[in-house]
Amino acid sequence: MSMAMTDEDILDRVTTIIEEITDIPKTELLPGKSLTEDLEVDSLTKIELAVTIQDEFDIEVEDEKLKELKTVQDIVDLVRSARLATAS
């Protein structure tokens, strides 16, 4: 994976993954959407999302961080910081 990844690139891949997992059209997956309230992502699906994102971006995410994920943008932020941590 190229390290030069913009937030838009990350958002695009994250929303592709969410669409695949939830069957919610990507066009509805705006950054500010709440995972639980707007997208009705349940606890197991949230973990599935985390597992898939770790696989796709080849990053490690601590369980504690998962609990803090509330929105689509939170996932993008998490991926960005995890990639920086992996790169450093």
């Binding site: 695949e20 997992i21 939830t22 069957d23 197991l44 973990i47 599935e48 597992v51 770790q54 696989d55 490690e60 995410v61 369980d63």
Partner: protein, 406 residues
């Protein structure tokens, strides 16, 4: 089994197999004598002593959503595909959910999931394990997924009797109707174990054919040169319904599940014994109020192993006689393990419906220990009013279904 007077009709059928993505395409391919054994060129197969199997004609991912595919083991996917077909075929009626049950057997269950998730632990650690792993690997997962899909609240059961599981599920479906627990049951079997470990393990037992130079001829039940079965994957389900329930809603009936027999050899884990098979066959006929002379056709379990086919042929002759026509459809489909019994129950129903018995493929030279009357060459056209379908499994499980015209 109690109350043989409860009339159980087959009102819906569904399947996905190596020969086709549904009942009718599979049946056409079977009657055409096709075989879809393929050579496994996957990286994981490189080290295997046997590199052939019958994969499903249609990958279930082609008809299931992404979420369904990811959250269900492949054996559950086959079951769901077959169940949706069968339910649509019976007219998808509004039924009392508390009187509607599901019974889906499997021989191995979510083995591919178990291995895939274990591989993830080894490669990346426990945090990469899917949170859906347990519901994917649990052997009752297929029955539960189908019950969830169809809203069947009268019970979801998962009999496990290796290669007899699909037939046992149907036998238990009949028992649910006859005991008064249900008015309608969706029953069948499923298997998805074409993978490195299962092939290595079956091969180590000497159960698989090694005829790799001629894969389409590898599955050859009853033949002198038979040397084992060819592993296959797929699933099938039928809708069984009390006749009064079916009539009240004007349902079409393909056939009647007239009786079922179940026994255990209790002699050896893997070597079959005709005595137990005879008991299952006789019980199937007795519970169907049929005598040996009524049986015109037997869909044999016959997998193509040197020991198994001969034992079954002796059991059929002892329990029924040498008059029925016998066919071994695994010669075309390969061996779908827990799915096989349900697939073959449907083939038996279709023989009654269409008055035709499929031929046994690859039977070039009938072995001297096979004294039954095997249909070979081309399908045999004949009206069939009463037939048996045998399914036997490791563990000494024996199940025979008795099917008659409605």
């Amino acid at each position: 089994m109690t109350n043989n007077q409860v009339n159980a009709l087959v009102t819906g059928m569904g399947m996905t197999t190596p020969l086709g993505a549904d009942v009718e395409s599979t049946w056409r391919a079977l009657l055409a004598g096709e075989s879809r054994v393929s050579i496994l060129d996957d990286e994981w197969a490189a080290d295997l002593p046997v590199k052939m199997a019958c994969r499903a004609y249609q990958d279930p991912a082609e008809v299931l959503s992404g979420a369904e595919t990811r959250r269900m083991d492949r054996c559950q996917q086959f079951a769901l595909v077959a169940a949706r077909q069968a339910w649509a075929d019976c007219g998808a009626p509004d039924v009392d959910p508390d009187r509607f049950a599901v019974v889906i057997g499997t021989g191995i269950g979510g083995g591919l999931t178990t291995i895939a998730q274990y591989d993830k632990i080894i490669a990346h650690g426990s945090r990469r394990v899917s949170p859906f792993t347990i519901q994917m690997l649990m052997p009752n997962g297929a029955a539960a997924a189908v019950a969830l899909e169809l809203g069947a609240r009268g019970g979801a059961h998962a009999p496990m009797s290796a290669c007899a599981s699909g037939a046992e599920a149907i036998a238990l479906g009949l028992a649910l109707l006859r005991s008064g627990r249900a008015d309608i049951v969706l029953a069948g079997g499923t298997e998805a174990c074409v993978g490195q470990l299962s092939i290595a393990a079956f091969a180590r037992m000497g159960a698989l054919s090694e005829r790799a130079h001629e894969p389409q001829a590898a599955s050859r039940p009853f033949d002198t040169a038979r040397d084992g079965f060819v592993l296959a994957e797929g699933g099938a389900t039928i809708v069984l319904e009390r006749a009064e329930h079916a009539r009240a809603r004007g349902a079409r009936a393909y056939a009647r599940l007239a009786g079922a027999g179940m026994s255990c050899d209790a002699r050896d884990m893997t070597n079959p014994h005709s005595e137990g098979q005879v008991r299952a066959i006789k019980e199937a006929m007795a519970t169907a109020d049929l005598g040996p002379s009524d049986i015109e056709y037997v869909n044999a379990h016959a997998t193509g192993t040197p020991a198994g086919d001969g034992v079954e042929a002796r059991a059929v002759i002892e329990a029924v006689g040498n008059h029925p026509l016998v066919t071994a459809t695994k010669s075309s489909t390969g061996h779908m393990i827990g799915g096989a019994g349900a697939v073959e129950a449907i083939f038996t129903v279709l023989s009654l419906r269409d008055s035709v018995i499929p031929a046994t493929r690859n039977l070039d030279s009938q072995a001297p220990d096979i004294k039954v009357n095997v249909v070979t060459g081309t399908p045999h056209k004949a009206a069939v009013n009463a037939a048996l379908s045998n399914s036997f499994g490791f563990g000494g499980h024996n199940v025979t279904l008795a099917i008659t015209t409605a």
